[in-house]
């Protein structure tokens, strides 16, 4: 299991051995439930127990905004901000031909179809600021541009609470490029 090393695994085993049988059964059931009940939303490809997911069916969410993320876990990060109330689309990864991942291996076709049918006014590409994230975002904007829908990306910037002094030159240069007028 990811993030669980041999030491942690041993500790878990000893913990479970000391618990009543009922508790172990409950845990086993919960794990099976994940396997049985959690599936991909057929619309946005996020993880859900009901299809379509709550994020897709919630009428209070802004249907004119669509945020494209690489993985379902990125949705949880964005939702924690409470700053975004639009729809999502999970690509299932980032384009990386050297790893055998091209657009066909991701949910790119599905994204283009959704944009055509749902007609959002803005697509926000929220991929990581690394080479693969950047290439994926530029590729998507190339594909979406002909439809007339505006495509935006998350801004690069300085970490909140950081010192300008210690920001690396690249981050600082990107933050300068993305500067804003003070209101």
């Amino acid at each position: 299991m990811p993030t669980v090393g041999p030491k942690t695994a041993a500790r878990l085993v000893f913990y479970l051995l000391n618990r009543p049988r009922a508790e172990a059964e409950a845990l086993a059931e919960a794990i099976l439930a994940v396997k049985d009940r959690v599936r991909l939303c057929s619309r946005c490809f996020s993880l859900t127990e009901e299809d379509p997911c709550a994020l897709c069916t919630d009428v209070r969410r802004d249907a004119t905004l669509m945020c494209v993320v690489a993985e379902a876990k990125d949705i949880f990060a964005l939702e924690r901000t409470s700053a975004y109330h639009g729809r999502y689309h999970v690509l299932g990864g980032l384009i990386s031909p050297m790893d055998g991942i091209g657009p066909a291996q991701l949910r790119v076709k599905e994204l283009i179809e959704r944009i055509a049918s749902e007609r959002p006014s803005e697509v926000i590409v929220a991929t990581n600021p690394n080479a693969e994230g950047e290439a994926t975002a530029l590729y998507l904007s190339r594909l979406i541009a002909p439809s007339g829908v505006s495509v935006t990306r998350l801004a690069y910037g300085l970490p909140i609470g950081g010192d300008l002094d210690y920001a690396d030159e690249i981050t600082l240069a990107k933050a300068l490029e993305g500067r804003r007028t003070l209101q």
């Binding site: 384009i95 050297m98 657009p103």
Partner: protein, 367 residues
């Protein structure tokens, strides 16, 4: 820049070392396999985060140990800076950490704080050896000088690898994806081309003067030319980007057919000419070596002039490769730099130098 303290832990044959180098010339003398080059390699690692001897950094860690640590204090301008670079062995490869004044930083921030110019025997192949050797010299110098250059170089390399995989057919061919990689290669590559062009022009001017001071005009003038894969008349961003775009278009079919990236600064070269003739093809070995020495002096001078601060000069066993006259001329120049380290199996006749004898990873001041 002056390295005032160097501290090693589990670096090659050094279990632990504390060394307080002197300003000016530091001579590291001793028999082979005692640790002279290891010490020089450690200083380069402290400055650049990279070894000049191996691409497999696990080799730097003393065998049987989990981590190698190199730390040092350097006087930079009016202030002091504390640097550290550690290499840890892990199940999935080595992991490096960098710190400046006790704070962990990214490599892009670390690089360039302590600048070094290295000169190792392999550099004597610079004139006649493969182009990658010459590109690497330019990249190493410029990445230390400018964080922007390093970022462009790293991004260029990543997009190039992806485009190659796309051309080789690892994934289904896709025109929009190819155009995306080309767009990124043009943007980052243009920056590399402009920086390289200016740097080589500065090298050319200095190397020419140094060379003439050594040998006069007997063989003709030494010239260093930037042989760009994307040549332009006027070095502006727009002109380079336009030429890059045009060349990608004309080479498009060849790239697809051969499955190789044919266009861009990864195919650049640096050409040496003496008296108007290609030195690689027509020069004697002596002429080629003199040209390399002139280039190294020019590299040092250019980095010093452009950075406003003298880099540290690291010379690994280059004396033995030179005849007496070239040795003398070279040492004369080296004796006056802010700080240099030179390894030798023999003696170095420079009165002002601080000499250390190295025997089995033990350092002893010898005057």
């Amino acid at each position: 820049m002056i390295l005032t303290r160097l501290s090693l832990s589990n670096v090659r044959n050094y279990a632990a070392l504390e060394f307080a180098p002197a300003p000016g010339l530091n001579v590291l003398a001793g028999a082979n396999a005692q640790g002279k080059s290891n010490l020089l390699e450690a200083i380069a690692l402290l400055g650049t985060g990279k070894s000049f001897r191996t691409a497999r950094e696990s080799e730097v860690v003393t065998s049987g140990m989990p981590t190698a640590a190199i730390a040092g204090d350097a006087q930079v301008g009016a202030g002091m800076i504390r640097l550290s670079c550690t290499i840890a062995l892990g199940a999935t490869g080595t992991r490096k950490r960098y710190a400046v004044n006790g704070r962990n930083v990214r490599y892009a921030t670390y690089l360039g704080k302590l600048r070094v110019v290295t000169f190792v025997p392999a550099h004597l192949q610079l004139v006649a050896g493969p182009p990658s050797l010459r590109r690497s010299l330019i990249n190493t110098a410029l990445a230390q000088e400018s964080a922007g250059y390093y970022a462009a170089l790293a991004a260029y390399g990543k997009h190039l690898v992806q485009k190659s995989a796309l051309l080789r057919g690892v994934v289904e061919s896709d025109d929009a994806l190819l155009a995306t990689y080309n767009e990124r290669l043009i943007e980052t590559g243009t920056r590399l081309i402009l920086a390289r062009r200016a740097f080589v022009a500065a090298l050319d001017e200095r190397a020419r003067a140094v060379h003439q001071g050594w040998v006069g005009d007997a063989d003709g003038t030494l010239e260093l030319l930037y042989a760009s894969n994307v040549p332009v008349e006027v070095p502006t961003e727009d002109a380079v980007a336009a030429a890059f775009t045009a060349r990608l278009r004309t080479q498009r079919d060849s790239e697809s057919q051969r499955g190789v990236c044919l266009v861009g600064p990864h195919r650049d070269d640096l050409e040496f000419r003496l008296g108007g003739r290609a030195l690689a093809a027509f020069g004697s070995q002596g002429q080629q070596r003199t040209a390399v020495l002139a280039l190294k002096v020019a590299e040092y001078g250019t980095l010093e002039a452009r950075g406003g601060e003298a880099p540290i000069l690291l010379l690994d066993d280059v004396l033995s490769e030179l005849d007496r006259d070239r040795q003398r001329a070279f040492l004369h120049g080296v004796a006056s730099v802010e700080q240099a380290f030179i390894t030798t199996t023999g003696d170095v006749d420079v009165p002002s130098a601080a000499t250390y004898r190295i025997v089995a990873a033990q350092l002893e001041a010898a005057g």
